[in-house]
Each structure stands twice: as structure tokens, then as C-alpha cells.
Subunit: 242 residues, 2 copies
Amino acid sequence: MRPQIVLFGDSITEQSFMSGGWGAALVDSYTRKADVVVRGYSGYNTRWALFLLNHIFPRVDVITPVAVTVFFGANDAVLLGRTSEKQHVPIEEYKENLGKIVHHLKECSKTLSIILITPPPIDESGRQEYARLSYGDNAAELPERTNEMAGIYAEACCGVAKDLGVLSVDLWSKMQETEGWQKKFLSDGLHLTPEGNAVVHCEVVRVLNDAGLCAPEMPYDFPHHSVIDPEKPHEAFQLRSS
Amino acid sequence: MRPQIVLFGDSITEQSFMSGGWGAALVDSYTRKADVVVRGYSGYNTRWALFLLNHIFPRVDVITPVAVTVFFGANDAVLLGRTSEKQHVPIEEYKENLGKIVHHLKECSKTLSIILITPPPIDESGRQEYARLSYGDNAAELPERTNEMAGIYAEACCGVAKDLGVLSVDLWSKMQETEGWQKKFLSDGLHLTPEGNAVVHCEVVRVLNDAGLCAPEMPYDFPHHSVIDPEKPHEAFQLRSS
């Protein structure tokens, strides 16, 4: 009945319903107008995401979403030779995988809005602090992610979006426009603070608006209570989405 | 693929994805295990909710939820002769309407867990403050809701749940166990603060656990990243919900 917006991604998507999260804020922005479905998989890179495509987005489904955010790259961009290297995906394969995801989604629906979101910037000192808090003296000397490498993946992500004619949010660049982004937007050098979540929410809403999914202009699924006549409530419900 | 939990109710359900909201917290509690679908309709009472039943819960549907929270009564309990009286539903009809909702849901599925949630307590001075802030000198002298009346509806709600053999959360009583509940749990004498939302979240999770929907014991929809062998990722996905 309601159009569906699917959030497909890694931990930054999975955690988007924690307090102050961008996924929850999106539900609130589209209240009674669209459903937001979260499909976030902590730790996943684009290589592993491919295994989920046919299950999450079957080519023939009863409900095809109107928009999908594809938010991977933070794990693909993990450096080889550091902790977490098992999550690394080479840049060329990352681009290919994003392309496969976009092609699959396009096969599901020609009218679907696809939004590629780049990985956020990395606060390397924040990652090191987190590692020391988590592993103490066993923490690795060097962070497993660098901001430079995240930037390379972010640029590649935007390039794929441009080449394939889909929408994108360059989160890596956007966040770095704000002074003190390292601690303001990132809680552990990678994951988002409530302020960081607000940036993602704001950017996703902006792009959804551009795609014609502007919540204030979308109809309610059922009448607003103010238009229900208490003596003749059935009349409002005959109209349905007034 | 994932079991579905539907939140059906009035504004306290509709607003449950605002920052600190109980709906969003429920999504987070059941992350990668169950989908939480919000069907909250601000201002609605049980009389108007009946018009939605066949649409939101068609008797024959591709997906039948495993649990539904039914959270009405705050508007039914509005006093006659005060502002908002158009939302009032007499207590006997409120009980009948709740019964109709429960019967309808039981027809959808025999295994569905139905959870009736009572209206929260009312902080009458909070309601008056809110009215003065909203309407200034035009604010009514007397609040449109009283805690005593909310209590009568809450008791009726628990009675219906008991009579029909479904689950319930007596939010009206639960919240009043805490000293200072008026300002601690209610932002405007009726709607919830983040602390109030936490009480609802906690109570709903407790009842869902009792109903066998205990998140820690439920399977992930797809493998946790730690069990994926980077050399042979397909193996983890052959198992699916490991």
C-alpha cells in the first residue's frame, strides 16, 4: 500500500535505528507515507553483499521498493596487512560489485531510485583510540582504515553512480566540509554520532526529494484525523488517501 | 523472509521513531532478525481504527505478522464536553472495538501474538501547560483528558486482553510506579519523553520474550560477518541463517 524505501548497507546502515539514527529519522520523515525497511549487515563488504541480492531484492517480487540506498565501502576500504584485512575488497572489484548491485536493482524495476552512498571519512586517531579501548596493549600500531583510502573508495563510488546514471551522496566530502568533523560526526573514527547520523539523514532526504519522493507532497495512506467527521467517519475513509 | 512485528496505534505509535522512540529501539533490538512495521495514526481512536483493519491486516496476505501491538485508548478516553471531544469513544464501545480488532487479528493468523497496550497515565498539569503554550489565552480551563479516566480505559483494556486470552502491557500502572512519572515519562502530559519511550520499549520486549520472540535466541537472516571465510564466502551463504 505504501511505497517502500530500502536501506541496504553495512554496520552504518544496521546501526541506523540506534538512538539518533538516520534510519529511524527517515521513518519519521516519511511517517504514514512510505515504509522504510532496513537491510544493514555489520561487517559486510560489497563482495559479500552480492550473495544477498537475490534474496533481498528478488527480480519478481510482490513489493518493489521505490528507492534503495546502497551504502557499502567502509569495509571494502580496510587496508591489506592490517587488522580486519579479511574485509578488504580491491578498488576495481568494489566498483564492479557496486555496478552489479545497480544492474540487479535496475532489473527489479526501471523506475526505482538508486542512491549510492560513499563511505564516511575516517578519523584515524579515533580508530586508534577505539582499538586501544577494545584491545588494550594488543591493539595494532596502525589503524585498519585511513581517511585517504576511504576517499579513494568514495570517489570510485561517485564515479560508478555517474557512469550508471544513478543518484549518489558523497558523504566522505560532505562531512569534511564541517570543522571538527572527526569527533563531531564520528563516535569511534568510523561509526556515526547523532550529529553524523543527522548529516546522513539530511543528505538522503535531499536526494530522495530530487528523485520526486518529497514527503510533504506525498499522500497519507489514510485520512488525517482532522478531516474525519465524528458523525460520519466512513465518509473520510471512502476517500482513503486524502 | 524475516518475521514481522506490526505496531498499530495512535500518535504514541506514530511518533515512536522520533529520537529516542520505542519503535526505533524495537527495530534495533530485533536487528537482522525481525522487521518492525509502524502503523501509527495520530489522533485516531478505536472507532476509526476499525476502518483500517481490512487494509492493514488483510485476512489473506502474503506476509502475516508474528506479533502486533494494539495501542489505542488515549484518544478514546478524551472527556466529553472538553476540547478534542470529537475523539471520545464511550468505554463500552472502546471494549467492543478492541475486541473486534483482536478477533480480526486472530482470523488473520492463529499463531499471531497480540499485545494490547493501555493508554499511558495523564499528567493533567502537563496537559494544561501544553494547552497554554499552544493556544495562549484561548486555552480551555480544564484539561481534555484526566488520569482517572485514562485509568478506567486502561483497566478496560487489560480486561479485554484477559477475556480474549491475549497479551497486555498495563502502561498506565507501570509508569505510575516511578516517582515523578508526570515529567519524567511524559513530555506534554500525554506523549512520551525518551525515558517514557524506554519504558514502552522495555515492556514490549518483555512481553514479546514471553511470547517466544526473544531476539537473542532468534536466527540472523544472513550469516554474521565473523563466520564468513574470506577465501570461501559462498560456504557461509549456503547455510543461510547461521
